[in-house]
């Protein structure tokens, strides 16, 4: 299996989405979740008169880090090392997994507690650990549900949003061995608390991701709600953090912006319940051995593209998922990547190469809601259009692409649209030809080679009188 399996779609998006749209439970859950979080986010964002300035500042901070990423990474390495931590570099997923499993094996650890981290899902660390006989324990409630079910997350923020309480109760009864259990969310949370508390208390090693890391001080930040993050970051003797190289921010003071933007955009809270900041190792407090793994895995490929590199500003808040009409209906699994939704549609194809995920930039209506919601002002629609161009050009290389149906059709359309006489002649022909297909002014299905156009959309019929005809008659 390749390194990028967690990122690479197996089938085109429309095919996967069609499957997901049949799942009424999923659609109901998603509708409720996205509506609720949108309303909460709107309420707390409206409280801040300087939201626009904070977004500008957030974009600027991330750009400052990305535009001098080599220097910033070296500053971070230096600061973490001075604070008693060890820094490792990983070119790809396999290398990162090797580093983490190597540390675990050197210490003879059999079980690792994990705080939710999309980056470790991206590199599929759990499978690597299991392969050498080490048990990874996901400690975020939703991640635990997903792990116990042998499932994959469907939302960045609420990964088990596709599961209802009855399913979770059954799962906990079966896997946690709790016999007496109601489907009350508080009772389910209590069952998870008991199960995990035991594991936290005996854990020797934890693995985390990172929301931010400060180049100047070496301080790493994890933002969370349940306290499982604090447990992982505090109790074990040994802590390993895996972070994508784009998570870096230059200065300590940058927290004053990002810790306002992230919670409000993510959970719609003024501040999430727990935010942990730590710098290397502190004698007498928390893990006494700390490793930071800096992961590339395609990020430098994203950095090469002057238009697309803004995707690396992403702080994984998931606001763009919650406002996206496509995500709201199709759900996260349709994107077939650990990065779903609008941000996934621009990040995934860039991380793995457009030729491996060519349908994702088209998984959008370009309505622009994601750009409005993004706390670091990633212009997702512009990047989508840019990547669509790349996908088309990539598909066109080679004879079949160049002389295929779509290319020939677009060329013919270009010729028709560039001359008035040709355009009006085409309209007259279409008016006659469309007759058997039109129902109430719409064409739902075009025949033959043109059927691709109407597979996912309806076409307005050519009207009996065009504006030009009307204008000429009027004169």
């Amino acid at each position: 299996m390749s390194d990028t399996a967690s990122l690479t779609p197996r089938v085109p998006f429309p095919e996967a989405a069609r499957e997901a749209l049949r799942d009424t439970q999923l659609r109901r859950n998603l509708g409720k979740a996205t509506t609720t979080i949108r309303a909460k986010r709107h309420a707390v964002v409206s409280e801040l008169p300087d939201w626009a300035e904070l977004r500008d500042a957030g974009a600027r901070i991330k750009d400052r880090a990305l535009h001098r990423l080599d220097e910033q990474l070296l500053r971070l390495e230096d600061a973490v090392t001075r604070a008693g931590g060890a820094v490792h570099w990983a070119r790809d997923a396999a290398e990162a997994n090797g580093i983490v499993t190597g540390i675990a094996q050197r210490h003879g650890v059999r079980e690792v507690v994990k705080v939710k981290s999309i980056t470790t899902e991206e590199i599929r660390l759990n499978e690597s650990l299991e392969r050498v006989g080490i048990e990874p324990v996901e400690t975020d409630l939703a991640e635990l549900i997903v792990q116990l079910a042998g499932d994959t997350p469907s939302h960045i923020l609420v990964p088990a949003i596709h599961k209802n309480r009855a399913e979770i109760r059954e799962l906990f009864r079966r896997k946690l061995g709790v016999r007496e259990l109601t489907d009350d969310p508080a009772a389910l949370a209590e069952a998870a608390r008991r199960y995990l508390r035991e594991r936290f208390l005996r854990a020797e090693m934890a693995v985390s991701g990172a929301n931010f890391a400060v180049a100047a001080t070496g301080t790493v930040c994890v933002v969370e709600s349940e306290g499982n993050g604090r447990m992982c970051l505090t109790l074990p003797r040994l802590l390993v953090t895996v972070m994508g190289i784009e998570k870096i921010i230059p200065e300590w003071a940058d927290f004053e912006v990002l810790l306002q933007l992230l919670p409000r955009s993510s959970t719609g809270e003024r501040m999430n319940p727990y935010t942990s900041l730590w710098t290397g190792v502190t004698p007498g407090d928390g893990p006494q051995e700390f490793h930071l793994v800096l992961l590339d895995n395609g990020r430098t490929r994203v950095l090469e593209d002057a238009v697309g590199r803004q995707a690396l500003r992403c702080i994984r808040c998931s606001a763009c998922l919650n406002v996206c009409p496509v995500y709201e209906r199709a759900g996260g699994h349709a994107y077939q990547s650990v990065y779903p939704g609008p941000i996934g549609a621009i990040l995934t194809p860039q991380l793995v190469g457009i030729e491996h995920a060519p349908s994702l930039p088209f998984a959008s209506s370009l309505c622009g809601a994601c750009y409005e919601a993004c706390p670091v002002k990633i212009d997702i629609p512009t990047v989508l259009v840019h990547l669509r161009g790349k996908a088309v050009r990539a598909g066109r290389s080679g004879l079949r692409g160049r002389f295929g149906g779509e290319s020939l059709g677009m060329a013919a359309l270009g010729r028709t649209f560039s001359s008035r006489a040709r355009y009006e002649r085409a309209q007259r022909v279409a008016r006659q030809a469309q007759r058997p297909l039109v129902r109430d002014g719409w064409i739902e299905r075009l025949p033959g080679a043109l059927s691709g156009w109407t597979a996912a959309r309806d076409l307005r019929a050519v009207p009996s009188q065009s504006f030009r005809d009307w204008w000429r008659k009027r004169a």
Binding site: E53, A83, H88, P159, L233, L235, R270, Y274, S276, G284
Partner: protein, 214 residues
């Protein structure tokens, strides 16, 4: 190992050289660094916002904190109370067994078995209802405020700032060189992972009570 380092750095440099980014402005947009409200308004806002996140907050005049602490512990039925070794003497309640964490002496199991923990804080943020712990005076190490199911936190009114930027600036001030771990606590731990129903109290203390003094 070093070859991975050189290669990643090389890729970064090549990517930036191939398509040089436009320079980013030096300054920062004019977001608020203070809300201009008087301190008394910040204290009132902190109490309101912390309560909004289901922390139980009570304000008492200076000198009455000992009584307020004893009262809160009595009502909670706390018998074994974990405390850092440097709490002010007048906070220490009578009639309660104190588990003093001297030089990290308490084991995780002992903390887990306690009925609660009493600490002070580094500062508090009005705008977000947040208590900030930095392992400084009267706070102890992180495990202390994590494993017990009940956290009683004393906040001096003078420790309350208005906005997040003021808190970040203070945390970077004198003493920051040590870079002790910092924890922002906004209400008790919570999850909304099951059908988006909020459940208070998962792994951290399920009950957070705050006594504001002064």
């Amino acid at each position: 190992m070093s070859s991975a380092r050189e290669e990643v750095l090389g890729r970064v440099r090549a990517a930036l050289a191939a398509a040089p980014p436009r320079p980013v402005d030096d300054g920062m947009p004019a977001y608020r660094r203070s809300d201009g409200e008087p301190h008394e308004a910040h204290v009132a806002l902190f109490i309101e916002r912390a309560a909004d996140y289901r922390a139980e907050v009570r304000r008492v005049p200076r000198g009455a904190e000992g009584e307020a602490i004893a009262d809160a512990l009595r009502r909670r039925g706390v018998r074994r109370l974990a405390v850092p070794s440097d709490l002010p003497a007048d906070w220490l309640p009578a009639g309660v067994e104190l588990l003093v964490d001297r030089d990290g002496g308490l084991s995780h199991a002992e903390l887990d078995a306690s009925d609660g923990v009493l600490t002070g804080c580094a500062l508090a943020i009005a705008q977000t209802g947040t208590v900030v712990l930095d392992g400084g005076a009267a706070q102890g190490r992180r495990a202390l405020t994590l494993l017990p199911d009940y956290h009683l936190c004393v906040v001096d009114a003078g420790q309350i700032v208005g906005l997040v930027p003021e808190a970040i600036e203070r945390l970077a001030g004198p003493g920051a060189e040590e870079r002790r771990p910092v924890t922002f606590v906004s209400g008790p731990s919570a999850t909304s992972d099951i059908e988006l129903n909020r459940v208070e109290g998962v792994h951290g203390p399920r009950t957070l009570q705050i006594v504001v003094v002064g």
